[in-house]
């Protein structure tokens, strides 16, 4: 077990390194292949009508005058050991993990990410509880009542949930139920207001995912319920409730857990559309701005954070496999 975790952790670090290298390469190499010069890159961060001297000064300040390998080395050093940054009259130490300072806002990236993490985590975890409860329950009931009115109605609703984009359901639900908009309140300030404000984003996001999970659960349950061991369990005289929950559902949960791990990891890296639609200041909005502003430190920070969450979520899922399915042994 310990060996498994260590191996996966090392793999995760390697993956993060590769992710950062690829992001760096995409930022610097791809535009250059399309003809962009370093001057043109720097000119984006100097404001309107920059002079050549201003562009040169900006290149030096942002380190764009250095080879890519040196810039990457500085970035890694910042994460591991921190780095110093000049604000004009003073220099400030950015402690590790220092993802650098935004080219546009000149603010350190890491505190901004941490600040926004609460919003994204609140959204992701709240919605995931709803969609797991609703999705799995509806999926199981649909499978058990295959062909019934409930099954058909649930699957049509699920199809709608999968088909309708978040910004449509989000805007519709806002206009119908909360035209005054959503204002995020921290859970530490007012837990009730926190939940009240997030309820609509949770339901909207969960509507999409619950639909996916209902269909996934239904398909899994239908397949499992036809297995020999289910027949055996019934033949042994086990109550149907036990057959469904302990035998059928448990086997169905393995693929659901896999998808859940990926979904929650992805959402923690930023629920871009939901955050944008409901104007929630989370990682997703931050990511959009980072990309729109061509702001490398912000893009790197968001990418690394998203990759980290996906890796961690998958690791947790792997560990949970052993709990959900006794046939799986971690070694």
């Amino acid at each position: 077990m310990a060996g498994f975790v260590i191996r996966r952790a090392l793999g995760a670090v390697l993956l993060l390194v590769v992710t950062s290298m690829v992001t760096f390469a995409i930022f610097f190499v791809v535009p250059r292949l399309a003809g962009q010069t370093v001057d043109q890159l720097a000119a984006q961060y100097v404001g309107k009508d920059p002079s050549q001297a201003e562009i040169e000064a900006t290149k030096v300040k942002l380190g764009l005058d250095q080879p890519i390998t040196v810039q990457y080395g500085r970035f890694v050093k910042g994460i591991v050991a921190g780095r110093e940054y000049s604000f004009g009259p003073s220099t400030e130490y950015c402690p590790p993990p220092c993802f650098g300072y935004s080219f546009k806002t000149q603010r350190p990236v890491w505190p901004d990410l941490v600040d926004r993490m609460e919003v994204t985590a609140s959204l992701a975890f709240g919605a995931s509880v709803l969609w797991l409860l609703a999705g799995v329950s509806i999926g199981v009931l649909s499978a058990l009542r295959k062909g019934s009115f409930f099954d058909r109605a649930a699957m049509i609703t699920a199809l709608a949930g999968v088909s309708l984009p978040i910004f449509f359901t989000g805007l519709l639900s806002l206009a119908l139920f909360l035209p005054t908009g959503v204002s995020y309140v921290s859970i530490t300030d007012d837990p009730l207001a926190w939940a009240k404000n997030l309820l609509l984003p949770w339901i909207t996001l969960a509507f999409l995912y619950a639909a996916l999970y209902a269909r996934l659960t239904r398909a899994g349950m239908l397949e499992t319920m036809g297995e020999d061991y289910i027949r055996t369990a019934r033949a042994k005289g086990l109550p149907e409730r036990i057959v469904v929950t302990r035998h059928a559902l448990r086997a169905t949960l393995t693929p659901i857990l896999t998808v859940f791990g990926l979904d929650i990891g992805l959402l923690l890296g930023g629920a871009v559309l939901t955050e944008s639609t409901f104007s929630l200041p989370g990682i997703g909005r931050y990511a959009i701005d980072a990309i729109n502003n061509n702001d490398l430190p912000q893009v790197l920070g968001v990418t690394m954070l998203a990759a980290f969450f996906i890796v961690v979520a998958n690791l947790i899922v792997d560990l949970l496999y052993a709990v959900a399915d006794p046939r799986v042994r971690l070694s």
Partner: protein, 576 residues
């Protein structure tokens, strides 16, 4: 993508046509609310105090540091927490274009043939912490804008105009005496030393770059975390991407005639989805959209179709001109007759429709200067029936150009601007009627002026004949609007805004004449002449004086459109 989103939002709005809107019931605040009322008058005049002004922005500030910002809404809003040497008269309509002293006692006193401009500060003005404002603080505020590597966002007019040698800002050399562009003989006198006369200097010092900054409090790029206030409000918190909160400045000089201190708090929510902003406005939980660029399609149709909502809206000029240019260095547009052919062939109504029609897009333009700019004169050198183009006149011009069978060219536009893409297609269609075959080339907006339209080498190298453009003045005079667009001496290798590469000595000389003039009326006449001369040159096709539909919460008091900024004036607002 944007178009899809807008379309869907429209569907949502239609689907919700029955949704109740409590704010539609106008509260009684004087009963002056009617469509466009804030454009020419002050709506809901009141001295009532208290309450919170709730504003929102779909984006964020480039910086709330007055010396490091370059958005129109930001300059408008900065006046709440900072006093520049001059500002605009708090009045509706064209009266609002009048410049008045703010931190200064009077407008600038010009001497030395226009190369020296002196301002005397009003006595008794303090920062929020009670310390007095001195002339040195104004000098320091301007000096720090020279440090472009630290404060990159603001304009460079002072850097370009002041006689300061190779000064690079107060961070590399902290001795402020090294900055020779401004002299401060005493604590209340600020003397600007110019390289050459500049007639609009009073307008220039209305920019937030002259809002005083005490050197001891300056933290460079971090100063935006808490700029020291001299205005009626002070910054409580600024959380980028989240919110910006201001409260009453206890040390504000209440004799200040240019701003009020009515509400207790101003709360600006940042990065709020544009459609969400509209919903909140109509639901009454928001008072105004701070960007002032207008409502989205869904809300627009809702407001315009409901008289109760419509009376709380204003369809105002934003001060922005939408136009396209023909590069005079790219054949066949090196021939003025070919340029005239495009002028006549253009269907401006089709372009107006592409931008959302007369309410969302604006009025058909025939001049480079919009109507809300000092120097505007109405004329149309290339009039066509109903502004829809004149094929016969265009073909005549093509014949004179030696291209009776038309020609091929390319249209450059910003791919991520749906209005511009639609306008490009409309133009392509109109030009096709006179056998001008135009191929559209779309590029990213973020690098439009650094790599593409603003790089003459790219234009020539890729034979781009036509490029779309949009412009808003930094200050509302002909010089502020036109100089960067048509003065040939502004052409540069990248970041070039004179995209048509117009370099006419007579026009350049008129700018010099206007700059040297100390007579405002004379300058106004010259700006009109420059506009006409540039249009005679035919390489710029203005097609829209930009407009937007703004919505004001009926609970808001003292509401009027600020012509210089093309949006509501923020410094006198209250809540009823």
């Amino acid at each position: 993508m944007m178009m899809k989103k807008t379309g869907l939002a429209a569907v949502v709005a239609l689907a919700l046509g029955v949704t109740a809107c409590s704010s539609g019931d106008d509260k009684d605040n004087g009963g002056t609310a009617e469509f466009n009322a804030a454009d020419a008058s002050i709506v809901n005049q009141s001295a009532k105090t208290g309450g919170t002004l709730n504003l929102a922005l779909s984006d964020d500030w480039d910086s709330i540091d007055p010396g490091n910002t370059y958005y129109a809404f930001s300059w408008n809003f900065a006046r709440l927490y900072g006093r520049a040497l001059t500002t605009f008269k708090p009045a509706a309509g064209k009266d609002g274009l009048t410049l008045v002293p703010d931190l200064a006692q009077n407008l600038g006193e010009v001497s030395d043939g226009g190369r020296t401009v002196t301002y005397k500060l009003k006595p008794g003005i303090k920062y929020e912490d009670g310390t007095p404002v001195t002339a040195k603080d104004v000098k320091y505020a301007v000096a720090r804008t020279y440090a472009r590597d630290v404060l990159p966002n603001g304009p460079t007019y002072f850097v370009d105009l002041l006689d300061a040698g190779t000064y690079t800002g107060p961070y590399k050399n902290t001795d402020i005496n090294a900055f020779t562009g401004i002299q401060t003989p005493d604590d209340t006198t600020v003397v600007f030393k110019l390289k050459q006369p500049f007639g609009d200097f009073d307008f220039l010092v209305s920019s937030p770059q002259t809002i005083p900054v005490p050197q001891a409090k300056d933290t460079g790029a971090k100063y935006q975390e808490h700029p020291m206030s001299t205005g009626s409000y002070k910054v409580d918190t600024y959380e980028p991407g989240k919110q910006f909160v201001l409260s009453k400045n206890p040390n504000w000089d209440s004799s200040d005639p240019n701003r009020k201190q009515l509400v207790d708090k101003i709360d600006v929510k940042l990065k709020v989805n544009a459609e969400d902003i509209d919903n909140r406005l109509l639901a009454g939980s928001l008072d105004a959209d701070i960007a002032g660029s207008g409502m989205q399609a869904a809300a627009r149709s809702r407001v315009l179709s409901d008289p109760n909502l419509k009376k709380n809206s204003d369809n105002t000029f934003t001060g922005r001109l939408w136009f396209f240019v023909m590069d005079e260095k790219v054949a066949p547009f090196d021939n003025i007759e070919c340029r005239k052919a495009v002028q006549y062939a253009t269907d401006k109504v089709a372009l107006q429709t592409a931008y959302g029609g007369p309410i969302a897009g604006g009025d058909v333009a025939t001049t480079m200067l919009p109507p809300t700019i000092v120097g505007y004169q109405k004329f149309d050198l290339y009039a066509t029936p109903e502004s829809k183009g004149d094929v016969a006149k265009a073909k005549d011009a093509l014949t004179r150009c030696g291209r009776p069978d038309g020609f091929e060219t390319k249209i450059l536009l910003r791919a991520d601007r749906p209005n511009e893409v639609a306008a490009g297609e409309a133009l392509q269609q109109a030009l096709g009627k006179v056998n001008i075959k135009a191929e559209i080339r779309s590029v990213p907006a973020g690098q439009y002026f650094t790599r593409f339209a603003g790089a003459p080498e790219y234009m020539k190298g890729n034979q781009i004949g036509i490029a779309f453009h949009g412009w808003q003045a930094d200050w509302p005079t002909g010089y502020g609007f036109l100089q960067q667009l048509v003065d040939g001496r502004t052409i540069k290798a990248q970041g070039n805004t004179n995209v048509q590469e117009m370099n006419v000595p007579e026009i350049n000389a008129m700018f010099d004449k206007a700059a040297a003039s100390t007579d405002a009326k004379e300058r106004e006449t010259i700006y009109g002449q420059i506009d006409k001369a540039a249009m005679e040159h035919a390489s710029v096709v203005p097609f829209l004086y930009g407009k937007g539909l703004l919505y004001r919460n009926p609970a808001m008091t003292n509401v009027f459109i600020s012509y210089p900024f093309g949006m509501y004036d923020y410094v006198g607002l209250g809540k009823g």
